[in-house]
Amino acid sequence: MIKKRVLAAAAMASLIPLTLAACGGGGSNAGGSASSSSEAVDSLTVLDYYTDEPGKSNIDAQLQKCGTSIGVAKVDHQSVPGPTLIQKVLQQASSKTLPDVLMLDNPDIQQIAEAGALVPLGDFGLNADGYAPGPVSAATYDGQLYGLQPGANTLAIFYNKDVLAKAGVQPPKTWAELKTTAKKLTSGKQYGFAFNATADYEGAWQFLPPMWTNGGDETDLKSPQVAGALQLWKDLVDDGSVSKSAVNWKQSDVNDQFIAGKAAMMENGPWQIPALTKAKINYGVVPFPVNTPDQKSVAPLGGEAWTVPETGNDAKKAKAAELVKCMNTDENQMLRAKQGGLVPTKLALAAEFKKEVPSMAGFTDAVASARARTGKLGSKWPDTAKVIYTGMQLVLTGQAAPADAMAKAGAS
């Protein structure tokens, strides 16, 4: 009777971990198939998170074309939603079914490389000469290059040209101007400015432009420079120039507010351009403003790189590296950038791109100097990002002053 009761209790309690432990399975040690490099490769598998059109079709066309040019008959291209990519990769790693070519968001590369799932591209004679420093530092772990990123994006200020013209104001160049302009543009249902301050990596990423521009650093979050950046965010919300809802707005929500005319300016990235064009918004883009005139605007690097996972099949790995190389040729970098939302990562190409596509000028310079989130901290970045977004939320909800918010959020 007692035993039965304990069992029943255990059965009930066990309802809980089912959801949480779903990912824990696997772990076979079958090992990849051994092979000689002379073996002909007739197919390669590719995994990415470009699930949205037209991005998916564009990438697919590029991959197929590259496959043909390197003599691989079939390129099997699969896309999974962004938030599930790493989980998918982990499942594949434990069942030894990693794809031959894997796309990774740039801040994830070092973590996955550290775990031992990627092959250094140097093994296949690839290098990143002529690339902007941001994408290279993001893809470099322990002195080795693990990924090549064909295009990059970053954050800047979008402003509604019509609204600013009507109010007779110029887009801001300094923090002081940002505050006064935003205040001036705030009336009725329209806020002057909008940003994303959610309790996740996206919120941390959006805080980097003020933090880095002001000279703050992720290795020293308790510095006055970081506090200064927090103060800017706080002032904008306290003034009523930014909605208090910012703590619950994703970047897509911010874009929706901007399109709906409920924000005259916003901090966002070039991936929103298709939606803005579709909504026929007359917008302009300027780099994130500086606090003092001697500062230079610094924005974080966004975008994805192609990597070669450790599949155990030497012939396929070599072909996979060729595919990565092909996706990064000058021609393909330019094609991808012109398809929208990205700037070529090769500096010479970026200069050319700036001339050819002036509408992206606001982002082109920013990408050239964009800083990688994992450049200094590598795989420790996620822990720091958590402190950043927690500190930011503490300030915006009035739970802590900018000066001691990061310490309260767990900064050491």
Binding site: A8, M12, S14, Q111, S245
Partner: protein, 320 residues
């Protein structure tokens, strides 16, 4: 509701299974084997679907189980380190308190409203069935969709709830439903109550239908009507259903994750962090699977306490 089924079958008193009629030896043995064979499929299913995850989760919580483990299969033993790490986290106490408030608030709200609605529907009136079916709607909407809709409804500036309340003159300034640390937990409790009402109504309503009308008729003769009848006839007869509803409610609410992720992601400023959210974030955002497992084991332990209380209460009832 296979969970509910396991529950009720497991808690029935052990029925005397030995028949007293003398049987031939061979027949008896065959019967025993047949009995075992009947149990085997169910036992295997339970071991595979319940036993394995629980044991795996327990083992993981004592290992340094990270991204690397998935690649090279190595998960070194670290003893109680994961438990120490999560319990000594500043957020743990807050998450524990939030879990308690969230669970108590949700269950109280769901149960009281569910009971009132069940009593209401127990009376005969036109469109009763249609209305009752409509009340099941929250159950039919995928949680992700439901929470996205609620996020729009509770939006501070332009959400329909604040706009309505303001235009009716009930509030002067918009309520920061999901953006103030003081209100966010209340907001997610309200949404969870909305979600839990169908479950409560359905079970309590079926319980009410099992109470014979004669009891009320006899009670009415003795002067027990209205509130008195509810207290002395309805509640005692509903006891078994009520305890199942509360028990399952507690377990479901303890592990609620989707709504919180959809509405606030544990924010603002950790105001809606619960043990379940912390566990999810450790495992699937930070990839510290060992610590995530430790947190979910703590959650299991809490659920276990409730399960034992429930079973004890049930035993007392059978003993009476």
């Amino acid at each position: 509701m296979s969970d509910a089924k396991t529950l009720t079958t497991a808690t029935e008193p052990a029925a005397p299974s030995y028949d007293t009629a003398p049987a031939r030896r061979g027949g008896r043995r065959g019967e025993e084997i047949a009995k075992v064979l009947f149990v085997v499929p169910a036992a295997l299913a339970i071991i595979a679907l319940f036993g394995y995850p629980v044991v795996k989760n327990l083992v993981m919580s004592f290992q340094n189980y990270t991204l690397r483990t998935f690649i090279n299969g190595k998960a070194p033993w670290v003893g109680l380190q994961n438990y120490v790490a999560v319990v000594s986290d500043e957020l743990f106490t807050k998450a524990l308190i939030n879990t308690a408030l969230f669970t108590i608030g949700s269950i109280a709200g769901q149960f009281v409203i569910g009971m009132l609605l069940a009593l209401f529907f127990h009376k005969n009136f036109p469109l009763n069935g249609v209305l009752r079916a409509l009340f099941l709607l929250p159950w039919l909407i995928p949680l992700i969709v439901g929470s996205a809709a609620w996020r729009a409804i509770l939006e501070q500036d332009s959400g329909i709830l604040n706009v309505t309340l303001e235009s009716l003159g009930i509030i002067n300034a918009p309520i920061p439903w999901l953006t103030s640390p003081n209100v966010a937990l209340i907001a997610i409790i309200l949404v969870n109550i909305w979600l839990g009402i169908p479950f409560n109504v359905t079970l309590l309503y079926s319980g009410l239908q099992d109470i014979p009308d004669e009891l009320y008729e006899a009670g009415a003769l003795d002067g027990a009507t209205g509130w008195k009848a509810f207290w002395n006839i309805t509640l005692p007869n509903l006891r078994a259903v009520v305890s199942v509803v509360l028990m399952l409610g507690v377990i479901y609410t303890l592990k609620v994750l989707d709504i919180i992720l959809g509405l606030t992601q544990g924010g603002p400023a950790n105001a809606t962090q619960t043990i379940a959210v912390m566990s999810y974030q450790r495992s699937f955002v930070e990839f510290k699977f060992g610590q995530g497992a430790a947190l979910s084991n703590i959650l299991i332990l809490i659920a276990l306490v409730f399960a034992i209380v429930y079973l004890r209460a049930n035993r007392r009832r059978f003993d009476e």
